[in-house]
Symmetry: C2
Subunit: 434 residues, 2 copies
Amino acid sequence: MPNKPGPRIQELRITPIAIVDPPLLNAAGLHAPYALRTIVELVTDDGISGISEIPGTRDTDLALEAARPLLLGKDVFHLNEIQRVLTAQFGTETTAERGLTPWDQRKLVHVFSAIEVACLDVIGKVTGRPVVDLLGGQLRDRVPFSAYLFYKYEGAGGPLAFGTDPAAQGWPAARQAAALDPAGIVAQARAMCAEFGFQSIKLKGGVFEPAQEVAAMIALREAFGSEVPLRIDPNALWTVETAIRYGRELEPILEYLEDPVRGQENMAAVRQVLKTPLATNMCTTSFGDMPSSLARGSEDIILSDHHFWGGLRASMTLAGICQTFGRGLSMHSNSHLGISLAAMVHLGAALPEVPYALDTHYPWQSDEVVRGGRFRFEDGAVAVPTEPGLGVELDREALARLHRNYLACGLTKRDDEVEMRKVVPGWTFQAVRW
Amino acid sequence: MPNKPGPRIQELRITPIAIVDPPLLNAAGLHAPYALRTIVELVTDDGISGISEIPGTRDTDLALEAARPLLLGKDVFHLNEIQRVLTAQFGTETTAERGLTPWDQRKLVHVFSAIEVACLDVIGKVTGRPVVDLLGGQLRDRVPFSAYLFYKYEGAGGPLAFGTDPAAQGWPAARQAAALDPAGIVAQARAMCAEFGFQSIKLKGGVFEPAQEVAAMIALREAFGSEVPLRIDPNALWTVETAIRYGRELEPILEYLEDPVRGQENMAAVRQVLKTPLATNMCTTSFGDMPSSLARGSEDIILSDHHFWGGLRASMTLAGICQTFGRGLSMHSNSHLGISLAAMVHLGAALPEVPYALDTHYPWQSDEVVRGGRFRFEDGAVAVPTEPGLGVELDREALARLHRNYLACGLTKRDDEVEMRKVVPGWTFQAVRW
C-alpha cells in the first residue's frame, strides 16, 4: 500500500498587516503607532489552510514572494526538503548578518519559520493533533510568561498614538500612561501584573542613563519583593565597564541580565565578573553562533524565538543543545498577535524545561487577527491550545481591516529612529551608548 | 472542538528472540551461534499495533517489564512525557555507564528507543505517513550502507555454527567461509559487495595484531582501488602509540578510523597527530559526553545509533548538534533484523547529510521477523519505505519460531568472551590489547 502523497502546498497568501502599537521606548528609538506583522496562509491541494505570523517588513514579504515558486507543490510533511530549498535560495545567516538594531530581519529564518509553522498547522489539522504533539507532546498544560515593561510616552498607539482616554482605568489606563521614571515603571508593572497575573518582570532598558534604569529595577524590587524575579535588557547599549559597574549593583536582585553589552567577546568579559546569569537574543542568535558562545562562555541563557531560529522544530533542537551544553533557555518576543502567541505556547509546552517565564509583548497589543478575540492569561500563563493545529483560526474581517491599516499607515519596515526624531529632533541610534 | 485524546498504550508485548549469527570475531571475543534481540509491540486502546526491535539481554527485558506500569495509558504522541517518566525511572547514562565491551547495554536509552520507535510506528499508521515524515520528511529516497567485514571462523551460525554447506556459492558461501587473514577478508568483501552492491567497506578490527589488520586494509585497497572508501574499527583496543603508528600507515587509504583507542583523552591525543578523521561509538556515546568531546577535540565523526542515543528524534537532535559544531555523523550497528533496519533507513533518509555510508550487520543475518522476507539492497542502498509507520509488519510465525530459538538456546545476554573460550581455552578480554 503506497503512501498517499501530500497534502501539498497549492497556494501561499502573504498579507502584511499593521497593528496598533503604543509609543514604547527602546535602544533603537521609539515604536511607531503601528507595528508590522505578516500573516502567511498556506492552502493545500485538498483545501486545508495553515497559518503563521512573523515580524513584518517589505523585504521579508518580498522574500516570501520569491520563495513561492519553490514552495508550491511541496508536501507539507517534507519540512527538511523545504528548509533545504529555502537555504539554497537565501543562504544561512549568523549574528553577523543580523545587524545592530534590537530586532532581527534576517530572511531565511523568517521565511522558513513562516512556512514551517503554517505547515505544522496543516499537519496538526490533518492528523487531528495540536502542534505541541508534533514536537513530542506537552510537558505542561500552561506556559508562564513574564510582564514586559517599557519606558513609554503617553498614548496607546494607532490613531490615538499621543492621546489618552481619560475614562480608562487599570491596565488600559496604564497602557496609555507615560512611564518615564522609576515611579512610572512601578505603576505600569502593578497594572500589568494585576491584569495578567504575571509572576516575573522584565524591563526593556537601554533608554535612559543606566543609573535611572537601575533605580527603576530597585524600585520594582521594593514594590514586588524577592518572590518576583526581575530582569533588565539594555539591548547591548552598555560598555563592558558600565555593565560591570551597574551589573554589580543589580546582582542581588536580578534573575538574569539580558544583553548588557554587544558581541560575544564583551558578554564573556562581563560574565567572568558578574555572578548574575547573562541572557542573549542579540549576541548569539543562530546555530552558527553557538560554538563560539560556548567556547567563550559568553552567555548562560539563550533566548529562543521560533521566528529567528528557523521554526519550532529548530527551537526544539536549540533546546537540546542548551540542555546538552548546560545552558538555560528562555524565549524572546516582539510585538505580536495571537498566531505567534499560539506557536510560542505550543513550543513552550514541549520544551524539556521552562525555568524562566517567557517574554511576550502581547499585553501591549490591542488588535487581534484570530477568531474568538484575544488570548487570556491566568496567573501570567496561557493554557496550551488543545484543538488540532495551532488551535487558532484567522478572523478574515480583522485580517482585512489590519491589512487596510498597513496600506494606510505607509510603513514598510520598522524604523524606531525615524519615529524617535519626531519627538526628539536629531536623535540618533548609537550601537553602544553608555 | 477539543482534541480527541490518544491513541493510548493499552498493551506492551516484549518478546526476546534469538537469531542465527555467524562466528564473527571481535575485540570482545566471538559471536555466539545466536544473537539476541528483543521485539517490542505496543497495542493501543483502538487496536493499532506499533513495533520496534532492540538489542536483547535479559536485563533490558526486565527493564522493559519494569517500565510497563509507567507506559500503560500514555498517549503515543506524548513522547516527551514518556521520556520524562522513563528518565525518572532509570536515570541518565553517559559513556561511564556504558562499560568496556564493544556493545552497549544501558537501560534508559534502550527502553526509550524501543518505546519511541513503536510509538512512531503507531503515529505513522494513524496519520497515514511513513516514520521519516515524522522526522521532517525524507531528503533522499535511498539510504547507503557500507559492507561490514568481520574476521570469522568457518560456519554461518545457529545449528550450523561450525558446519559449511558445500553447495553454497557466492555470498552464502562467503558467509560460511572462514576469514582469518587478508586474503580471506578480501574474498569476503568481494562476495558481500557482489551480493549487496556496497560501495564502501568497513573491517571490524581489534581481533589480530594490528600489523595483520593493517595488511588486510592494504589488501582491500589494492583489490578495490581508491574509489571505495575504507574504514577499520579496532574497538578501542589499541594504545595511543599503536594507533599513531598504524594510523600513519593507514592515513593514505582510510575514509575514517573508528575508535582506535579507549576514552576521549586518548582519542584526542591520536587526533592531534593523524590527518585521518576519527569516528566513535565507544568514547562519546551520549549527549552528556558531547561537551567534553568537543572541548577535547576527541572525534570528527559521531556514530549515531537510535538504540543507544534514545530513539529517532534524539538522533535528529544529535545530527543538529553535529551540524552546529562541525562534526560528521554516521551510524553504528549491531546484529539486527528488518525492524531495526527500517528504523535506521527512516532516520537515514531524514538526516541533513549522509556523507558516510551507514553501518549494518544485516547481511550477516539470515533470519527475518517481518512479513515479506528480508530487505533488498541495491547498489548498497535500501529504499526508504513509503507505507505508513515503519513500513514493516511482524511475521508472527517467524516471531514465534525465533522466540522458541531464544528459549532453546539458553542465552540471556551477549557474552563473546565465554564463546571465544570454547574455541581458544583461557582466552580473556582485554580492554586495551596492543
